[in-house]
């Protein structure tokens, strides 16, 4: 045989043996336990797009291991089954079907891309399976009201008035523009801004500029913004991978508007990458800072330590916000089941309806269920200051914002 043919056969043999053996590797990882495990399904965007959101699955894994080490839920260990939906709604729908029919999970949770939860929600609702969407903010997930679908984080509709308030308080703008990322989450934030804008009659929306989910160049958007010259630019749906080029380009184009940003940009990766460009910006934030020893922050510092110990991430900036949301979701399910006292899906759903303020070991100070009940207490705002300092602000019950943390990040 010619040399290249021999090589081909060797490689082919290697591939074939991998194909045959690897699928079974996962099965050996399970050990037999005493009581029958309770299955919880968790779908997340583990690969491909929005993978920083998919890290919620890791948080869920950490929570599962902790709970199982402490005896499980009512004596039964959790069997956490993670599904990768690749931020693609059709795969999320397939995962939902799998959870219901193949693995027959007891409770479904997860959801890191709004579009996926929007697709999966009706499937769970129809199958009467409780579904707690862990990390999606678009209100469309739980609206129209579906009995079995709950949404845990604050929704985009919560972010919008908070950010508009902030904009009014700090910049008193007369004109606004929205930079919107394509996709369900971006649209939900943008729609929320538009919905709440009539409550701020002095502000006028000039334009909504969209960019696709995977975008390669923002110069025309920034130039248009420069031409329109709004007093404040709101971002809707921007994620880490877009945030860095946007700020870099803005710097190159000599354009420094007053940004007020939603959740996706307030990530250490962005801040580290663009440093000064973010000075002066206000962003929504879902997890408080961790250098001041308040009760909330100590919990977060603990979580970060546990996460680092368990997963040993190469990246020192991890964990970001999202693992906490997955961690939260599992602990919340434990809380619900223990409150009800038995494994009854209908009762659990009824109990979830009643919860209005849960301050479990998780990192969201309260939980949001359905549009009617959401409130804004767990939404923090980060204010980036020069020289790497940043402040975290929390809203008091009276409606003012007070600084709860100030730290130097770089």
């Amino acid at each position: 045989m010619r040399k290249s043919n021999k090589l081909r056969v060797v490689i082919g043999g290697l591939i074939a043996s991998l194909l045959v053996t690897v699928p079974f590797l996962g099965d050996f990882a399970k050990e037999a336990t005493g009581a029958e495990p309770v299955k919880i399904g968790f779908h997340a965007s583990v690969t491909r797009i929005a993978v920083e959101m998919g890290q919620a699955a890791l948080g869920a894994q950490l929570a599962t291991e902790e709970i199982n080490a402490a005896g499980g839920i009512l004596g039964r260990p959790i069997d956490l089954i993670i599904y990768d939906d690749q931020c693609t709604p059709s795969l999320a729908a397939a995962a939902a079907h799998k959870m219901i029919e193949k693995d027959k999970v007891f409770i479904a949770t997860g959801g890191t891309c709004s579009g996926c939860s929007i697709a999966a929600g009706p499937i769970f609702n129809e199958a009467k399976m409780p579904y707690f969407a862990a990390a999606v903010l678009s209100p469309v997930v739980s609206v129209p009201l579906k009995k079995y679908v709950f949404q845990m984080p604050f929704t985009s509709e919560a972010q919008a008035p908070v950010l508009l308030d902030f904009a009014r308080k700090t910049h008193a703008p007369k004109t606004l523009a929205i930079l919107q990322r394509g996709g369900a989450y971006g649209k939900s934030v943008s729609d929320a801004f538009i919905k709440y804008l009539p409550g701020y009659p002095e502000m006028r929306l000039l334009e909504v500029l969209e960019y696709p989910e995977i975008a390669t160049d923002f110069s025309s958007h920034l130039l248009k913004l420069k031409a329109l010259n709004p007093d404040v630019v709101l971002t809707a749906g921007t994620m880490v991978a877009d945030g860095i080029p946007i700020f870099r380009r803005a710097e190159e184009l000599n354009y420094r508007p007053k940004w007020v940003c939603d959740l996706g940009i307030s990530d250490d990766h962005v801040r580290q990458a663009v440093k000064k460009s973010m000075d002066g910006i206000y962003c929504a934030w879902g997890m408080a800072g961790c250098n001041v020893d308040t009760t909330t922050n100590k919990r977060i510092a603990d979580f970060r330590m546990k996460y680092k110990e368990r997963f040993k991430p190469k990246d020192p900036m991890e964990p970001s916000q999202t693992p906490g949301w997955g961690y939260n979701a599992i602990y919340f399910i434990k809380f619900l089941i223990e409150k009800v006292g038995k494994f009854d899906q209908e009762k659990i759903v009824a109990e979830a309806e009643r919860v209005t303020d849960w301050t479990g070991p998780g990192l969201m100070v309260s939980a949001t269920f359905t549009l009617e009940k959401h409130y804004h207490l767990n939404l923090f705002v980060k204010h980036y200051l020069p020289d790497g300092w940043e402040e975290t602000l929390e809203r008091t019950k009276e409606g003012d914002w007070k600084v709860i943390d100030k730290a130097k990040r770089y």
């Binding site: 991998l18 194909l19 690897v22 590797l25 990882a29 690969t47 993670i82 059709s90 697709a119 369900a184």
Partner: protein, 332 residues
């Protein structure tokens, strides 16, 4: 020799009956979840079939298949949602509309070919994704279109009823494709694929047949998309982007470009089921998929069907080379 021929026919007959039995009783044997996966495979099979007709039969390089899939999905879903059409009519009309939209693509295909046609069709396809995304009043844009549960006769189209509904439609369309393949339309396509200039000098009207190829291909993909919408009940604009085209392309090539029905079917089934078989390790799925493709690429020239054919030839040849077995199973 007559005896040998009839035993062969027996063997094939039994095999066909066995496969048919499995397919017909699939939901009962393997459960609803796997039947659902087979339904998805069926939808992709139709898409791959359309692609195969365009690429394998007619030789037109197109990267735009996903658009037709999407047009069929959105059209049929909207007909069900807004106008309350019955399921079978919506699916058919969805495919028809996709075919009508595909028809005019054949016209630039006269002047443009090869890589350039690939780009034109790609541009066309991505353009439709933008339309699906932006025409919010019609398609609900990024929030996705939710297809309500429809009925066919007295049955709700979910679980088993859905399976048989899809099975019947796939069966009819596959049979039609088989007939197209063997008809003069099919021969004209093959002639165009093998040599356009020669074909046209033989009197084959290139414009008619090229546009027809796109239209038929569009129809098949449209029906596939419409059925997918019925199965997953939620469609979003980026379900139909370039990645879907690549997925369909891999199904066609892995199955075998030269074999229309069997190739597309094998490719679609294998590549839809494969992620389900790769066990629990999530991150590995992409790697496994890639390895599978690589394996097929390295060893299966002409796809699975091509590989099987070559294997059969090799076995047949080896049998003939052995002198004594030549006497026992000799050619008369």
């Amino acid at each position: 020799m007559l005896k040998r021929m009839s035993t062969n026919k027996w063997k094939v007959g039994v095999l066909v009956l066995f496969v048919a039995f499995i397919i017909i009783f699939y939901p009962k044997i393997f459960g609803w979840y796997w039947a659902f996966v087979l339904v998805l495979a069926g939808c992709y099979f139709l898409g791959a079939l359309g692609y195969n007709i365009l690429l394998g039969l007619a030789g037109q390089v197109s990267f735009g298949q996903a658009a037709f899939f999407g047009i069929g999905a959105y059209t049929s879903s909207l007909l069900i949602l807004l106008l309350d059409f019955p399921a079978w009519a919506s699916v058919f009309l969805g495919g028809l509309f996709a075919g009508i939209i595909a028809y005019p693509i054949g016209i630039p295909a006269l002047k443009i070919s090869g890589h350039y046609l690939a780009l034109v069709t790609l541009a066309f396809s991505e353009g439709f994704v933008v339309i699906f995304h932006e025409w919010v009043s019609l398609t609900e844009g990024p929030y996705g279109l939710k297809v309500p549960l429809t009925t066919f006769g007295p049955w709700d189209l979910k679980t088993e009823a859905l399976y048989y509904f899809v099975l019947v439609i796939v069966g009819i369309l596959a049979f039609t494709a088989y007939n197209i393949d063997r008809s003069c339309i099919g021969r004209a396509f093959k002639a165009i694929r093998d040599g356009e200039v020669a074909a046209s000098s033989l009197g084959i009207n290139l414009m008619n047949y090229k546009t027809m190829a796109f239209a038929i291909s569009g129809f098949y993909s449209g029906v596939g998309g419409a059925l997918l919408a019925l199965a997953t009940r939620c469609i979003m604009p980026w379900d139909f982007d370039f990645r879907l085209t690549i997925a369909l392309l891999t199904m066609v090539v892995v199955g075998g470009l030269r074999s229309t029905i069997a190739g597309s079917a094998l490719g679609a089934v294998l590549l839809t089921f494969f992620p389900e078989w790769t066990g629990k390790l999530l991150e590995i799925k992409e790697l496994m998929y890639g390895l599978l493709l690589l394996f097929c690429f390295l060893f299966l020239r002409g796809g699975i069907v091509g590989g099987l054919a070559r294997a059969k030839d090799k076995i047949g040849a080896r049998k003939q080379l052995r002198p004594f077995s030549g006497i026992r199973h000799g050619n008369a």
